[in-house]
Structure formats: C-alpha cells, structure tokens
C-alpha cells in the first residue's frame, strides 16, 4: 500500500523524524483509519528509499504511543485514536500553520495590529464564501 509520505532531502531533520512525524499526522489526522493495514517494514523502506532499520524504529515509536499495533504474522495496523488526541493534534497543526503565516507577516515588517486586522478580514471573507458553497 502507498502512503503519502514525502521525504525532503533539504530539511535538516533526520530521515526517521521526517517519516515519523508524517505517519503520526496521517493517523491522528484521520487519513488512515483504524484497522488500516500498513506496509511491511521492508516494503515501506524500499518505497521511501530509506533503511528498514529506520522504518522499524518509526513503527516501534508509534506502537509505543499506541497509534499502531503489530499482530504476529498478520502485519501492522492502525489502532483506534483517542478523540482528545485527535482534537489536540488538529489544533496543534492549525497553530503551526498560523505561526508560519505570522512569521511571514513579521518578515514583511507588518505590525501585530495590521496582522490582526488582516486575519479578521480573511476569516470574514472565508466564512461568507463558505456560506455560499454547497459543501461548506
């Protein structure tokens, strides 16, 4: 099975960290549902062009966190995610993205007041548009 994990060769973070963060995100974000079979260690290593030692380390970490479980002879599966964990993850991810946007704004010499004004404008426009769209 294919997983939407992308390794960025330019990033300073170690490979194992990049893979672990993304796989954790896929589970906590709900893209990988409970019971989904994950690729075998070797299969994922070959497809990401990393070492099977790295994948084993990632699986062990996520298993220790209770996000996946390994059944002897059957493979590795996504475990049930606690609702609070999922909520926390969702807010943490959103907060990271907002932080990035604020950093970009500060680099452009914006004041906090300007950024707050822009934020309110954007949110207002979005919620108006959302009201129009059928899938909102």
């Amino acid at each position: 099975m294919w997983l939407p994990i992308k390794i960025d060769e330019q990033r300073p973070e170690p490979l194992y960290h990049q893979i672990e963060v993304q796989l954790r995100g896929l589970i906590l974000g709900g893209q990988l549902r409970e019971g989904t079979a994950l690729p075998s260690i070797r299969e994922l290593a070959v497809s990401l062009k990393c070492s099977a030692i790295t994948i084993r380390r990632v699986y062990q970490d996520l298993e220790a966190e209770g996000l996946i479980r390994t059944r002897q002879g059957a493979g590795t599966f996504v475990a049930g995610v606690d609702l609070t964990d999922r909520e926390q993850h969702r807010l943490r991810r959103a907060s990271e993205e907002l932080e990035r946007a604020v950093d970009a704004g500060l680099q452009l010499q914006c004041t906090i007041e300007e950024l707050e004004g822009l934020f309110r404008d954007i949110v207002r426009t979005k919620s108006e548009n959302k009201g129009d769209s059928p899938d909102g």
Binding site: E9, Q10, P12, P14, L15, Y16, S40, I41, R42, E43, A45, V46, K49, C50, S51, A52, I53, T54, R56
Partner: protein, 310 residues
C-alpha cells in the same frame, strides 16, 4: 521481526589475498537480518572479500566467522549450503553446461533446494533453461545465476555486482524478488554494487572499502543524515574564508561565486557548526545531503589524511 544477536559475518583483523593485492586487516560485524551494501571503487577488494567469505581465498591472518562457523582450512563447510552466491564474472568451467544442468547440479549441493521456487524465478526472469551458459549474453547468464542462487532460499545471499547487464525491466522484477526474499527480516543480503539506486532502495547498512581497507560500516540513513553540502555566504565583507576549514566535521570546500562557498561537512551531535560559522562571519544559505559517491570521496580523503603522517 526478531533479529538474532549473532552477526551474519564477523571479521576480526582478517587479512587475505595473494601477491599484488592485499585485503585487510578488516574489522567489521555484518548484522544478521539486514541488507549491507559494499561500496568501493574497482580494485577496492569487494570481490576478494566475497571470495574469502566463501573460503575460496585463504585467510592469512585474523579470525573470520560466517553464519557462526569459523572459516579455517579443512573446517566445517556446511555453512556454505546456507549461502547463495553470484560472482562478478561467471565461472568458465560451467560454460559447456545448460542452465537446466547447472540448476540440477545446484539442487544436489543445496539441501534447501526448491524446484518450485527455482522455476518460478526462472520464469519471472525469462530464463531459457535449455540454453548453454557460454551461449548466453552477460545479462541473460546473470538472470539464470540469480534464479539458481536464490532457489534454496539461503540465509545469506552474497551478490557481486548482480545487476550488471540486466535490462531495466528485469531489474525491476529482480528488485521485487529481493524485496520478497527479505520480507520476513531473517535473511541477510550482502551486495557489492556501483549502482547508487540499488544502495538507496535496498541497503540498511553501507560498508566502504578502499584499497583493501575498511573505511567503516554505517547505518545508511544516519550516514546520509550526517553528511551535508552547505552553501555559505559571508555576512561581513572580508571574512576569512580560510576559517571555513576549521568548521567542525569539515571535509572539503570550493568557491561558489563572490563571497559564496560550498563546504562538505560531517555533522556531529552538538558540533556547534552554525555558531562557528556565525562567529567567522558566514551564514548558511542551503544545506543538502551528499550523494553516496561524494561521501565515499570524503571518507577516502579523511583516511588518507590519517595515514600520511605515519
């Protein structure tokens, strides 16, 4: 996936080779259950190492253990039945045999031989079993040899430049077959290759050889995490570029334009690299992982710098 503690291969000060080429002394433990790629230039000793592991080249000094068996003259040779081997160049004495005859011969030699597995591999690789080995092209003969070497599901598979001559379609099938061979995590693959793509896809560890000496055995991902090419820019005009040579883990540098330099470094935990650069008046613009051959180049340079003063 339980890895056994005992290494697949233990090299303890091993020396081998005849006049003209000396291998060793080598110290390394090739872990069981993983893939180790042996990387080095032509003549670095890869083939001599493999022949030594198979007892085809006498150990002149040190201790060698393969699959738990000490490799000594007139010793227990039963360990060889648990190895699959494809040599860099085919055996001339097998030239008159057909593919089927070589398979037949191998089936007597290996207790674990499985005709079904052999036929499946031969079919997937598109091997013509009736053909005489000497009539086959390099790549076609290689396909037959790979099918035969894997037919007894060996504990240790040793492949010397296995993909040379394989066309891209067969190469892909071969990669799939190796992947399923490795699936359970109890097999050890030792692979000498010049093909970086094979190292990237398959290897868990990399063993570097240079002029018969070992430049180290590294976990592949940690190796690629550690070695970086940095593009740095001077932040204050007239900063001393010579100071870049003092960067922690420095290997080499080149000019990359006015006030720009590219340096190759090995990151170490707590190395203080950024702080050092800042103090010298430089700033990192870009950090990239090095390619395998560049890492080998750096390791050779380091090795030679260590050897020269002696």
């Amino acid at each position: 996936m339980d890895r056994q503690e005992q290494p697949a291969i233990r090299l303890d000060g091993v020396k081998a080779g005849r006049e003209g080429f000396r291998l060793g002394p080598l110290h390394a433990e090739i872990p069981r259950g993983w893939v180790t790629a042996v990387v080095g230039a032509n003549g670095s000793g890869k083939s001599t190492l493999f022949r030594t592991l198979l007892g085809l080249e006498p150990v002149t000094d040190g201790r060698l253990e393969v699959l738990g068996t000490p490799v000594v003259p007139h010793g227990d040779e039963s360990y060889k039945a648990r190895i699959g081997f494809v040599a860099e160049s085919p055996n001339a004495h097998e030239n008159p045999m057909t593919v089927a005859e070589k398979a037949e011969f191998a089936s007597y030699w290996y207790p674990g031989w499985d005709w079904q597995r052999y036929r499946r591999l031969a079919a997937r690789f598109g091997v013509d079993e009736g053909a005489k080995l000497k009539k086959l092209s390099k790549g076609t003969r290689r396909k037959a040899e790979l099918a035969i070497a894997m037919a007894h599901d060996p504990d240790l598979l040793i492949l010397d430049e296995p993909s040379s001559g394989l066309d891209p379609f067969i190469w892909k099938i071969w990669m799939e077959e190796l992947q399923s061979y490795l699936e359970n995590g109890d097999k050890t693959l030792l692979l000498a290759t010049h093909v970086t793509e094979e190292v990237k896809r398959l290897a868990d560890n990399v063993l570097f050889l240079h002029q018969g000496r070992c430049l180290g055995l590294y976990e592949k991902d940690l190796l690629f995490d550690a070695w970086r090419s940095l593009l740095v820019r001077e932040t204050s005009p007239g900063a001393d570029a010579g100071k870049l040579r003092g960067v922690p883990g420095f290997c080499q540098m080149e000019s990359a334009g006015p006030g720009l330099y590219r340096i190759e470094v090995e990151f170490a935990a707590g190395g203080g690299l950024e702080a050092y650069l800042q103090a010298c008046g430089f700033q990192v613009l870009e950090s990239r992982r090095l390619e395998l051959e560049d890492i080998l180049g750096c390791l050779i340079q380091k090795e030679e710098a260590n050897v020269e003063p002696a």
